[in-house]
């Protein structure tokens, strides 16, 4: 692909968004103005096709930006709906998070690609879904208002309602596209690890890959052990976290990243001999995670967290993870 990737991707997403809106407008015109006949059904069919094409194309472009190529490839091989798992005699150590969610995605260079439970993608999809639905609804009311204008039967109340509606639609659309451009620019971060689960006293290779098109001022990766407690305070439920161990794994200074040429860095994660294993009960937990933090020119700072599982030293490893 040549040219500036951001403009290309943004243009494609805008094109599909326009298809969707044109489809909604045509459908609302045909339903409100035309008599039922062969032409009516043809217009309904074409409008529906435009809506479907626009919606699928739009979300495909957006999701292509927020997940990396390799990640989508891994999902396409394993499928969105996991198949039936073979029953194994292996019983994982008690009160330690299950290993399967961490080992079901193979890495490109190292054994496993770590999952990144990010709220950013969900927020982007939520804002986009709202903006799309709101503007589609607004388009229908807009057609009804214009039609009444041409017929000489002006619906003032509808026009008055449209004014705040247009404002909300504009603000939600703007918020979505700003988040989208930010996701486009910073790109995704992937972390691969040599082996899982991690055992105290051992060291493991990790690979950090940062995609996007940006100039990084500083990129770091830390191994963190964090305690988490949930408790009732009056009628509230509160959660408190405390970092009890911290280890610098990778520190990278100023570097330029381009589309198709991601920044790749390797590091070593060493789990101390006396480290506590991962633990999860109803109200208390001990989490181990790799935290990637980046500062980039013209983009806001970002932080992405990749949980890992630490077993006690004596615990047996599952056969599938060997």
């Amino acid at each position: 692909m040549t040219g500036w990737w951001i403009i290309g991707s943004f243009g494609e997403a805008s094109f599909f968004a326009a298809c969707f809106l044109i489809g909604v407008l045509c459908l609302s015109i045909s339903i409100t103005s035309l008599q039922v006949g062969s032409g009516f059904w043809l217009l309904v069919w074409v409008s529906s096709a435009l809506i479907i094409l626009g919606a699928i194309g739009f979300w495909y472009r957006v999701l292509k930006v927020v997940t990396s190529d390799e990640h989508r490839e891994a999902i396409s091989h394993s499928g969105l709906i996991p198949g039936p798992t073979a029953k194994s005699k292996y019983v994982p150590p008690p009160m330690i998070p299950l290993l399967e969610p961490f080992t079901d995605s193979p890495g490109a260079k190292l054994a496993f690609r770590l999952p990144c439970p990010s709220q950013d993608t969900l927020a982007l999809i939520g804002i986009g879904g709202f903006a799309m639905s709101w503007n589609a609804m607004l388009a229908i009311f807009f057609v009804v208002a214009i039609r009444s204008l041409f017929e000489g039967n002006i619906q003032y109340r509808l026009i008055l309602l449209l004014i705040p509606g247009i404002y909300i639609g504009w603000r939600s659309g703007r918020l979505f596209f700003m988040s989208y451009v930010q996701a486009l620019g910073i790109g995704s971060t992937t972390v691969e690890i040599e082996d899982l689960p991690l055992i105290p006293g051992k060291s493991y290779r990790v690979l950090l890959v940062q995609y996007g098109k940006l100039v990084i001022k500083k990129l770091t990766m830390r191994l963190v052990c964090e305690e988490e407690s949930t408790y009732h305070y009056g009628t509230d439920i509160r959660t408190e976290r405390s970092v009890v161990r911290e280890q610098s794994v990778i520190v990278q200074g100023r570097s330029r990243i381009d589309w198709g040429r991601p920044l790749e860095m390797e590091g070593i994660v060493s789990i101390p001999n006396d480290a506590m294993h991962s633990f999860q009960s109803l109200h208390n937990a001990i989490h181990w995670k790799l935290i990637v933090e980046g500062e980039a020119n013209r983009w806001p700072s970002y932080s992405r967290s990749f949980p890992v599982v630490v077993y006690p030293r004596a615990a047996s490893k599952p056969a599938s993870a060997d």
Partner: protein, 123 residues
């Protein structure tokens, strides 16, 4: 009075926990049930969680054949986790707990802590 004997201060994961318990200065015919458990507890800022690793309850006719003033031996293979831990806001402790229930509705409880593993502190 409940006596817990033979308990070591620390065990490694997968070790076998072996201890004796007995009760003295009570009317043995008044015992209605006895419970022995090996469990872990969380302490600290969060709401307390508990996990029972081993639980044994004796009641009814099975009580009659036992001399409760003589040591009763219990063998429990310990699990791999969770290990004992003293963190900043999360603490995990292991203990054995013996509970005697009596006909008048009262109960007698004794509890003895032990460490599982060698990890004891956050830092």
């Amino acid at each position: 009075m409940i006596s817990l004997l033979g308990l070591q201060p620390a065990y490694m994961p997968n070790d076998e926990l072996e201890f004796d318990y007995s009760v003295s200065n009570i009317d043995q015919s008044s015992i209605t049930a006895v419970e022995v458990s090996v469990l872990w507890l969380t302490e600290g800022k969060g709401t307390e969680d508990m996990g029972v690793h081993f639980f044994q309850r004796l009641s009814g006719n099975s009580l009659n054949s036992i001399q409760w003033n003589q040591p009763q031996r219990v063998h429990v293979p310990l699990p791999e986790s969770p290990l004992s831990y003293e963190g900043t806001i999360v603490k995990i402790s292991w203990c054995i707990r013996v509970r005697f229930y009596f006909a008048d509705g009262t109960e007698l409880v004794s509890q003895e802590p032990f460490y599982l593993g060698t990890v004891t502190k956050a830092l």
